[in-house]
């Protein structure tokens, strides 16, 4: 079978690529576009390390085919900071030491941003359930949850 020709907008830039029909969006991001910030922890949508936004919706890039991104907007961890300015979530994760090994961090940040974009004032329970699809084995989640709550408060101007 021949490769699929795909045009997509990734982190604001129009990108063209060829992919095998069975290749995932995660494979394309990592192996073709060298956007290796999205991680493959499971390949089955259970760990959330490959979380990206697809047309404004939070998805696991390992569960989306590369070909499905045709004509759509993809946002990854690489697009989260603006120039030299980190997103407030990124700042707070550093301040709170909300990461240890850091491999789950890109996915957690993308997911947390998706939450705050739709709910600027989440409760602790809401944050915990929203991030339940992002596995972290190092932190026990405590500092991650605090960092997200603190970011939300700061972004609300509290």
């Amino acid at each position: 079978m021949s490769k699929c020709h795909v045009t997509a907008t990734i982190n604001g830039d129009e990108v063209e690529y060829l992919c095998e029909p069975e290749e995932t969006l995660l494979d394309v991001l990592r192996d073709q576009l060298f956007l290796t910030g999205s991680k493959e922890g499971c390949g089955s949508g259970d760990c959330g390390a490959c979380s990206v936004m697809l047309d404004g919706r939070l998805v696991c890039a390992c569960l989306v085919l590369g070909a499905e991104a045709q004509g759509r907007k993809v946002e990854t961890i690489e697009g989260m900071a603006h120039g030299e300015t980190l997103h407030p979530l990124q700042e707070k994760f550093l301040e709170h030491a909300a990461l240890q090994c850091g491999v789950c961090t890109p996915g957690v940040l993308v997911a947390a941003k998706a939450l705050l974009d739709r709910n600027p004032d989440p409760t602790e329970t809401e944050v915990r359930y929203w991030l339940a699809g992002n596995l972290c084995r190092c932190t026990g989640y405590d500092k991650i949850i605090r960092a997200v709550m603190d970011t939300a408060a700061e972004m609300r101007g509290n």
Partner: protein, 763 residues
Amino acid sequence: MAPMDGGGHDLKWVGKRPVRPDGVDKVTGRARFGADYNMAGQLVGRVLRSPHAHAVIKSIDTSAAEKVPGVKAVITRDDIPDQPPEPVTVGEMSVNFSDLIRNVLAREKVLYDGHAVAAVAATSAKAAREALKLIKVDYQPLPHVLDVEEAMRPDAPVLHDNLFTEGADPPADKPSNIAKRIEFTLGDVAVGFEQAEVVLERSYKTEPVHQGYIEPHACVASVTEDGQGELWCSTQGHFVVRAICARMIGMDISALRVTASEIGGGFGGKTVVYLEPLALALSKKAGHPVKMVMTRSEVFRATGPTSGATIRVKIGATKDGRITAGEAEMAYLAGAFPGSPVNPGCMCAFAPYDLENVWVVGYDVVSNRPKVAAYRAPGAPISEYAVESLIDEVADEIGMDPIDFRLKNAAKQGTHAAYGPKFGPIGMIDTLKAIKESEHYNTPLGPNQGRGVGSGFWFNIGGETCVSLNISEDGTATLMAGTPDIGGSRATLSQMAAEELGIDYDKVRPIIGDTSSLGYTFLTGGSRVTFSSGMATVQAAQEVIKELCARAAKIWDIPAEAVTWEDGEARPAGDNAGKFDPLSLEELAASAGKTGGPITGYASINAQGAGPGFGTHLVDVEVDKETGRVTVLRYTVAQDAGKAIHPSYVEGQYQGGAVQGIGWALNEEYIYGDDGLMQNPGFLDYRMPVASDVPMVDTVIVEVPNPNHPYGVRGVGETPIVPPLGAIANAVSHAVGVRMHELPMSPPKVLEAVGGAANGAGD
């Protein structure tokens, strides 16, 4: 000299919470982990794995696979030379290469579901997959054994015909699955039990659990025509990987340069090799670099986990709460090859307590499961779970508060541990008191809720360590350590370097050096990094300071001894030394070329005197008696850190350990079918805690300085996973009014226990 905590000296960086030096890379996706690196012209490597739990490999035919277009190399047992079954010293480790080679690539038999049988390298993943399908392996299936007790039976299927129980008395006359018997004795338990007024004896069981790092194993290897090798991999110890791979592949150690990638969690599971020798062998055969990455299913089936075990514990105590004797007998699953952590399990079992009479026996047992790898305080959570459960039951039996009971028996400075040494200053009692005084311990519980306490001990280690510290021309510093940074150690090492040199933390740039850039450095494990690499960092900084003082002396034309280093500058030591304006590190660095050349410090040490770690955990749970679900409501950890260099990362270790322990206690287990194949090799069915499963984890950092470290550091990474199992078991027991003796306390088991209690009460 470096100031000790509490020495009246203001610490500028140590004990503070600066942003980690690798932080921005980690929150922007730039940080390069194992699978994020590529070499030009690399091939894709894939592994063929056993579909049987136990089978003889009669033949392997790779001819069809080799013909697939794009396939550049196929390797099997014939491509890695065998080695004799004797332990070989590799750095500080003792490695049985015969077993290791057989685990990396099966030879006579496959010994577990997922055991590697062959590997291919091809120009595409598609070609590699196609080739794997065409490798013909003729298996003769054999009966298998998974359970520890069944594996120990005389009629069990035997995995290794050459395995005779070491330490058996009388000596074993036929092979069995019991690889080793060990024994520790202190005093005389018979006398101790005689003195006891209460004696309880129980049996416990735990299941194998995986370390569960989110990053699967990954590496890229390149072996060139002149026999030089390069290896990039996710590992806790690239020097150890180098030593093992060089020997397996038949290379000079110095001909192999290993770079540790950023590592996406290890917890002990990345202290061993799986893919690395295969990638090197494939690259050597193919003449191209080879990249290999495991799937999650491969990680579960073929790496880690830690042991499951059965443990019998017997404790005797007087009615006023003095333990008179402790006895334990435990059998640990090693997986397919000998080497379970039963030895540390035995040594740690009663270590939190000051006992006169202890007798502990352990068995290392092989079965048709993946070979176990280290997992955070290897062996200790298992044995201490059993002991902490029974300690709690004895406290209930004599009607004593569980913390008071532990306080009455707690190990302290001068305690002679059953496994040998006499403890120096330790914080066991302090952690118990911290929990007892906590608001948490003094808050009432609701219905169906239970509270549990558990304590824990882990040795912590030091070991061979190198650090270099180079002063740049502008007075900034680059710090190179050989211990991969998993949880913030570049921050703690930079803090210590900045503190010593008297420069800003931001002026120290730390990196993890590859194996060709530093002397042999043992791996990140044993909670040794902040202790050992910290000690080496301080020594390297002292060497730099000595040199800086010598340079200032040269400029001032006074003896070097007449110069001191304070607040980041050289000053005349006193009025007798003469009157000179201080020279800053920046000034001395700028003029280094004229005063004798570059200023550098290097420390190569074998760090000794790691301080033992003690912790006490407190947990509240609620049990849903209809579903058997256990909800952890509240959790507090108190642990002795010696000195917290970066308190946030110390807290992070405590919190992460507690939550891993929650998973171990409540949910995680390897599930096998009757066919001996793993049924839950994925995160959906191997259920690790997610954010909505757990509460915040409160922490109390106790600081009893370790006198052997310049800042008082003792390791903190492993101890936090020791107490949770017992603490949670005790909490569940108190919530449902029935003692549970098996982990995980998953809903079906809790439901059964609750139902049993209800029947027993005539409900």
